[in-house]
C-alpha cells in the first residue's frame, strides 16, 4: 500500500465512551478521488467515526490519518484540508446566499477575489445567479442542501465529509445532488458520505457497512452483491444487519 494514493488511513481505531464501545477496531483506507460510502443503522457508530475523522473527537486508541495528517497531533491541518456538510445544518437561514458563501469562504481562508470568482461560477453552474441576494430561509430544502454542498467544496478541499446529506429531500433533488457529488469527484475531491438510502449506496465506488461499531463488510457495491448473493444493496444491508 503506497501511502500517497490513500487520503484516509484508519488502523485499529477504537472509541470508547465509558464501558460502551462506539467504534471497535475500525481499519479502512480511502483512495484519492473515490466516493466512499459509509452505511449503517442509527447508532452503529457512523457519526462517532466521522467526528473522529474530522478532528472533532479524539480516538481512544488506534491510528487515524486524514489527507496526510495525523488527526491526534495535526488536527488544525486536517481541518483546513477538508470540507464538511451535515444533514442538520445547511447554511444560515437569516443570511443571504452570497453572505453565506462569503462567510464560509473567508473562514476557509479564501481571498475576497477568489470568493467572488468562485461564487459566480458556482451560482451559474447551479443556475441560480439571480438568487444571489435571497435569504437562505426562503429557499426550498433541496436548494439549501445543494448550496450547502457547493459551499462545503468552495475552498477545493482534498476530502469532503457528508453526514447524511440528502435526508428529507425528494428523489429528483437527490439525483441532482449526486450529480454534484460526481462533479466534485471528477475534480479530484474525495467524497466520504454516510447515508441510509440504499439506492445511494449503489452510486458509491466503495461501501462500508457498519454493524454495532464494527465494519462487517467493505467492497464495491457489485462485489458486495455477488458475495452475499443479493440483487440489491438493500438486501445486502438487511442480510448483514439482521442475519436471521
Amino acid at each position: 500500500m503506497e501511502a500517497s494514493s490513500y487520503v484516509i488511513n484508519v488502523k485499529d481505531l477504537v472509541k470508547k465512551f465509558g464501558d460502551f464501545t462506539a467504534n471497535d477496531r475500525l481499519t479502512f483506507h480511502v483512495k484519492r478521488g473515490e466516493i466512499f460510502g459509509f452505511l449503517g443503522a442509527n447508532g452503529a457508530g457512523k457519526t462517532t467515526a466521522i467526528k473522529i475523522l474530522c478532528g472533532l473527537s479524539v480516538p481512544t486508541s488506534g491510528f487515524v490519518e486524514v489527507s496526510g495528517y495525523n488527526v491526534k497531533t495535526q488536527s488544525e491541518k486536517v481541518k483546513s484540508s477538508i470540507g464538511y456538510m451535515s444533514q442538520k445544518f445547511s447554511l444560515y437561514d437569516d443570511l443571504t446566499v452570497f453572505e453565506n458563501i462569503r462567510l464560509f469562504g473567508t473562514i476557509y481562508g479564501l481571498s475576497s477575489g477568489e470568493i467572488k470568482e468562485r461564487s459566480a461560477d458556482m451560482l451559474s453552474r447551479l443556475g441560480i445567479e439571480e438568487q444571489r441576494n435571497r435569504l437562505i430561509g426562503t429557499l426550498s430544502l433541496g436548494w439549501k442542501q445543494k448550496l450547502a454542498f457547493s459551499v462545503a467544496v468552495l475552498h477545493r478541499p482534498k476530502i469532503v465529509f457528508l453526514d447524511e446529506p440528502t435526508s428529507g429531500v425528494d428523489p429528483i433533488t437527490r439525483r441532482q445532488f449526486w450529480e454534484l457529488i460526481y462533479q466534485a469527484a471528477d475534480e479530484g475531491i474525495t467524497v466520504f458520505v454516510t447515508t441510509h438510502y440504499m439506492d445511494e449506496a449503489e452510486y458509491c465506488n466503495r461501501v462500508t457497512i457498519m454493524v454495532d461499531g464494527r465494519i462487517s463488510a467493505l467492497d464495491t457495491p457489485s462485489g458486495l452483491k455477488s458475495q452475499m448473493k443479493c440483487d440489491s444493496m438493500n438486501d445486502v444491508f438487511l442480510k448483514l444487519t439482521r442475519p436471521n
Partner: protein
C-alpha cells in the same frame, strides 16, 4: 483576523435581522426604567389624610399646616366625629387619620404634655409605617420649635437626622443601579447563552468547530456584538436616569464605564458558561431567567435591602454578581467614590469573570472529550 471579523459581521447580521428581539432589547431597558421611575415609587407624596380635630385651636391648625406644607400629605377631609373618620379609613378614602385631643393647644404648656394620635391604614404595612414615621418627624419638629421659645435655658438633646447622598429618599435613585444590573446581565448572559446554544441546536456549531476557526474565535465572534449592545443599553439607562429623573452622577464617568464594562464581561462569561451546560435554547433561557433574573431582583439588594434578609439568604447574596455591581455603581454615582473605594467590588467581579471563563473552558473540553 479576517476570519474573526467575518464571523463578527455574521453574528451582527443575525442580531440586526431579528427585528423583534432587537426591539425588545432596546425597548425593555427604557420601559423598565420608566416603570420603576414613575410607577413604583417607595417614597411618600401627597398621601391622603383625614383630620378629626377635637381641639380646633391655633396649635392643632399649626400642626396640620406643617403636615400639608411638607408635601408628603394632603388633607382629604375633616371629620366631626370618630365614626365618620373610621368609615373613611375603612373605605380607603384616606390612608391615615390625625386625631387631636380636645385640649390640644392648652395642654401643650403642661409638664406632662399633650398628645396627637395617628391612625394609619396598615393593610399596606410598609406605607403605613412610613406615613406614621414621616408625620411623627414633622410633629417632633414642631414641638421642638414651640418649646424652644418657652424655655430656651434647658435645651434638650436634639437629634438631627440628615439623609446624605439621597436627601429626599427618592426611590428612583435606588432603582437605576438595580435596573442597570438586571438589564445588563439579562442582555449579556441570556442573549449570548441563547445565541450560542442556537448554533448547537441547529448543528452549525459542529460545522464551525470542524472549520479552521478556533473555538476562542467562535466564542469571541459570538460575544463581541453583545458587548456593544450592552453598552448601548447601559448608556440609555444612564441617560434616562440622569436627564429625566435627575439621578445624581457625582463620580467619574471613566470609572463608571470601567466598572460597567467589567460587569458586562462578567455577564458574558456567565452566558458562555450557561451555554456549555444547556443543551438547547429553551434550557438556556430558563436557566438565565431563574438563575439570573429572579436572584438579581430579589437577592442583590436591588429591591429588598440585604441587611433585612435572613442570615442564610445574606450568605447566598454574596455569590450574586449583580450585588457587587449595584454596590459599586451606587458608590460611584451617588457618593462620587473613586477606585480606592470600589476596589473590593472590582476585585470580586474580576474573580467571578475568571471563574466563569475557567469553568466554561473546562466544560467545553469535557464535551469534546
Amino acid at each position: 483576523m479576517k476570519q474573526l471579523w467575518s464571523f463578527i459581521r455574521k453574528e451582527s447580521r443575525h442580531i440586526l435581522r431579528d427585528k423583534r428581539t432587537l426591539a425588545v432589547l432596546f425597548v425593555m431597558p427604557l420601559a423598565q426604567i420608566l416603570i420603576f421611575g414613575y410607577v413604583i415609587s417607595t417614597e411618600i407624596k401627597d398621601a391622603r389624610i383625614g383630620v378629626l380635630d377635637n381641639a380646633g385651636d391655633y396649635s392643632s391648625r399649626q400642626v396640620i399646616d406643617r403636615l400639608v406644607s411638607s408635601g408628603y400629605f394632603m388633607v382629604q377631609d375633616y371629620y366631626s366625629n370618630s365614626r365618620q373618620m373610621e368609615n373613611a379609613l375603612r373605605r380607603g378614602d384616606i390612608q391615615m387619620a390625625v386625631v387631636f385631643s380636645p385640649d390640644f393647644g392648652s395642654d401643650m404648656e403642661r409638664p406632662d404634655g399633650t398628645s396627637v394620635q395617628f391612625i394609619a391604614d396598615a393593610s399596606d404595612a410598609n406605607t403605613a409605617r412610613m406615613l406614621v414615621n414621616y408625620a411623627e418627624g414633622i410633629v417632633a419638629g414642631y414641638e421642638l420649635q414651640s418649646t424652644e421659645v418657652l424655655n430656651q435655658q434647658n435645651t434638650p438633646l436634639i437629634v438631627e437626622a440628615r439623609m446624605f447622598y439621597n436627601p429626599s429618599l427618592r426611590g428612583v435613585l435606588m432603582s437605576v443601579p438595580g435596573i442597570m444590573a438586571m438589564i445588563l446581565i439579562l442582555v449579556s448572559a441570556m442573549m449570548t447563552s441563547i445565541s450560542i446554544t442556537r448554533e448547537k441546536e441547529y448543528g452549525s456549531m459542529e460545522v464551525l468547530l470542524i472549520s479552521p476557526l478556533q473555538p476562542w474565535q467562535i466564542i469571541l465572534g459570538k460575544v463581541a456584538p453583545y458587548v456593544i449592545l450592552s453598552l448601548v443599553n447601559a448608556i440609555t439607562i444612564l441617560a434616562v436616569g440622569i436627564f429625566v429623573f435627575h439621578v445624581p452622577m457625582s463620580g467619574s464617568y471613566l470609572l463608571l464605564t470601567f466598572v460597567s464594562l467589567l460587569y458586562i464581561l462578567l455577564s458574558l462569561s456567565l452566558g458562555i458558561f450557561i451555554s456549555t451546560v444547556a443543551p438547547n435554547q429553551m434550557v438556556a433561557m430558563f436557566i438565565s431567567l431563574f438563575a439570573l433574573m429572579l436572584p438579581t431582583i430579589l437577592l442583590s439588594g436591588f429591591i429588598y435591602p440585604i441587611e433585612n434578609m435572613p442570615v442564610w439568604l445574606q450568605w447566598f447574596s454574596y455569590i450574586m454578581p449583580p450585588r457587587y455591581y449595584i454596590s459599586a455603581l451606587k458608590d460611584v454615582m451617588f457618593k462620587g467614590a473613586g477606585l480606592l473605594v470600589v476596589w473590593k467590588e472590582v476585585l470580586v467581579m474580576t474573580g467571578f469573570l475568571v471563574a466563569f471563563l475557567l469553568l466554561s473552558i473546562r466544560n467545553f473540553k469535557v464535551r469534546l472529550e
